[in-house]
């Protein structure tokens, strides 16, 4: 499987990663090699095998519907680079 520079640019944008124009081609090559490696799995015989959503043979454990978390807003907000009036502050987001 081959990834081109345009795909790398698109994925980088979705992931909000700064990738320079001169880096696109080398990264495309590296990612292609990673995918080629994974593509070897395509040779496996999988007729009649259910798609796997999780490697362990287990299903979800549930919890009962109860409020168990105390209010730790002050401690949490103290972790943030900026907070005011009980809110986390981030650079202005345009709507």
């Amino acid at each position: 499987m081959s990834i081109d520079a345009a795909t790398v640019r698109h994925i980088a944008r979705l992931a909000r990663l700064a990738v320079g124009e001169n880096e696109l081609a080398p990264i495309a090559g590296e990612l292609s090699r990673v995918l080629d490696l994974a593509d070897q799995l395509g040779a496996a015989q999988i007729d009649g095998v259910e798609p796997l959503a999780h490697p362990h043979e287990q299903t979800l454990a549930w919890r009962p519907d109860a409020v168990t978390e105390p209010d730790r807003a002050d401690a949490f907000l103290a972790l943030a680079p900026d907070a005011r009036g009980g809110l986390y502050l981030v650079p202005k987001v345009l709507e």
């Binding site: 698109h10 362990h56 109860a66 009980g86 202005k92 987001v93």
Partner: protein, 498 residues
């Protein structure tokens, strides 16, 4: 030809119903609305590294409940997926949702339209997902404030197929879902608080075409009226554009109620590339036949079934039945009134099933529930569960009315007194001396006095002016302070005037 000339609009709705759980979908933080910002968050909700989500059983049960109510397939095996996008009110960088294998699939819902038609709306899926936090753009210069109280709140996203063909159909469907989720107790339906909101996918195509046109999505409209107006606007905008030879661009648009128009959202050009994949933190969700049976055992009679029963078994008009069943608490109140109406009415109710007779007091109970009770609740801004006149208390009042102890007009006064806290119907009637005068001697005396007082009118009447009958009725009512039995008064008066 449609209402839109040679064009047919096609609409699908994505409804987000907040599931009415105490705690969040994947954490034990509270979901209560209106708390101080960020006080209802846990380690999972703020996405601290190393924390793991543990799903809330009640959210699953509510999803199953909804699935059963729309006659859907409940998946024995479904999968939580990560929907990846970056936004500051989504601290993990992804929303846990369901993609390929939703818990509820292929349902349907009968929707009654205002014009009396009923349509069956196919529901493609309903899946569990977590809500995001809230961004507050206004208060801080150059910064956005983030409140994560809502982050992780369980949502059921209910996706209809594109089978709605007008704004009116779309809104009728949305109302029906709104009634249903409240009826089932899976969502409080509070639209002001955002517990029930809707995205609309709108496209138009030539009437002759089978192929769907390019659609636009109108985001997050939170009132029935605005959904209708936003869809109307969007249909007309698209038809205008197509008739001018333009192409429709697939995009997300926001509705601006102040200007009554939709406009494209900025900065979301890549928004539909979410790179879904199964969430490795959450193994597949297994639902057994026993799980489904346990939920099924707690299912109430559904609104459509109850509405039908009110028409078929109780003999109520369609419109009354539909109004009573718009809300489960109202329907329950009505039934409690009927069940406690004493005496012959109760007897009649007991013979209903065997003889197929219609309930003699159903119409009376419906009229009062939808009339006096509803009006008083509206005025006091109370819900029917908070009614100051309980169902048994109303039943007593209606029994006195039916027995002829009081007239319909007096009954309304008694109701007002009961609402005002003056006691039950019997106490008010006794204290205020409101018993209807059915004693023919007393009535005759009142009539004689009135006829003696108005000799001119009496002569006119006898001269052929029959309209004056109502004048005499009014005068006798006035003299008896409204307590004369109307039927008896009419009969006696006609007798005397002969």
């Amino acid at each position: 030809m449609s209402a839109y000339g040679n064009w047919q609009p096609v609409i699908g709705l994505e409804i987000h119903a907040q599931l009415s759980t105490q705690s969040k979908l994947f954490s034990g933080a509270s979901t209560a609305y209106g708390a101080e910002p960020n006080t209802h968050t846990g380690l999972v909700d703020i996405a601290l590294p190393g924390t793991l989500p543990v799903p809330n059983r009640a959210a699953l049960d509510k999803a199953i409940r909804f699935g059963l109510a729309i006659d859907a397939r409940i998946a024995s095996h479904s999968v939580f997926a990560r929907k990846n996008y970056f936004y500051p009110d989504l601290p993990k960088g992804y929303q846990i949702s369901q993609y390929e294998l939703p818990v509820v699939a292929e349902g349907k819902l009968a929707v009654r339209l205002d014009d009396g038609r009923t349509i069956e709306v196919a529901i493609e899926r309903a899946h569990l997902e977590e809500d995001a936090g809230k961004s507050l753009h206004e208060e801080f210069h150059g910064a956005t404030g983030i409140d994560l109280n809502r982050a992780g709140t369980p949502l059921l996203e209910i996706v209809s197929k594109p089978v709605l063909y007008s704004a009116a159909e779309a809104v009728a469907y949305m109302r029906t879902v709104h009634t249903l989720v409240r009826w089932l107790g899976v969502c409080d339906g509070n639209m002001q608080e955002g517990s029930f909101r809707c995205d609309a996918n709108v496209s138009v195509r030539p009437v002759s075409s089978e192929k769907l046109g390019t659609r636009t999505e109108i985001k997050n409209v939170n009132s029935f009226r605005f959904v209708e107006k936003a869809i109307e606007y969007e249909i007309e905008r698209q038809i205008r554009a197509l008739e001018n030879g333009e192409r429709i661009v697939q995009e997300t648009r926001l509705y601006d109620p102040a200007r009554h128009q939709t406009r494209p959202m900025r900065g979301k050009e890549d928004a539909n590339d979410y790179r879904y994949f199964p969430d490795p933190d959450l193994p597949p969700l297994a639902v057994t036949a026993d799980d489904i049976a346990a939920v099924k055992a707690t299912m109430p009679e559904l609104p459509e079934a109850r509405r039908k029963r009110y028409v078929d078994a109780l003999g109520l008009p369609e419109i009354d039945a539909a109004q009573l069943c718009a809300d489960r608490a109202t329907a329950d109140y009505f039934e409690a009134v009927l069940a406690t109406l004493p005496g012959e009415a109760k007897l009649a109710a007991e013979t209903l099933n065997t003889q197929g007779a219609l309930h003699p007091d159903a119409k009376l109970a419906a009229n009062w529930t939808l009339g006096e009770v509803s009006a008083a609740l509206n005025e006091a801004a109370l819900s029917i569960e908070q009614s100051r006149v309980s169902a048994p208390a109303l039943a007593q009042l209606l029994a006195r009315l039916r027995e002829g102890v009081i007239s319909g007009k007096i009954a309304k006064d008694v109701f007002a007194a009961m609402w005002g806290g003056e006691g039950d119907a019997d106490a008010v009637i006794e204290k205020r001396g409101l018993k209807q005068i059915s004693d023919s001697g007393a009535l005759a005396a009142a009539i004689n006095a009135v006829l003696a007082e108005y000799p001119t009118q009496l002569a006119d009447f006898r001269g052929g002016n029959e309209k004056l009958l109502q004048f005499f009725v009014g005068q006798v009512m006035k003299r008896t302070r409204g307590q004369a039995n109307p039927q008896q008064l009419n009969a006696l008066l006609r007798e005397k005037l002969k």
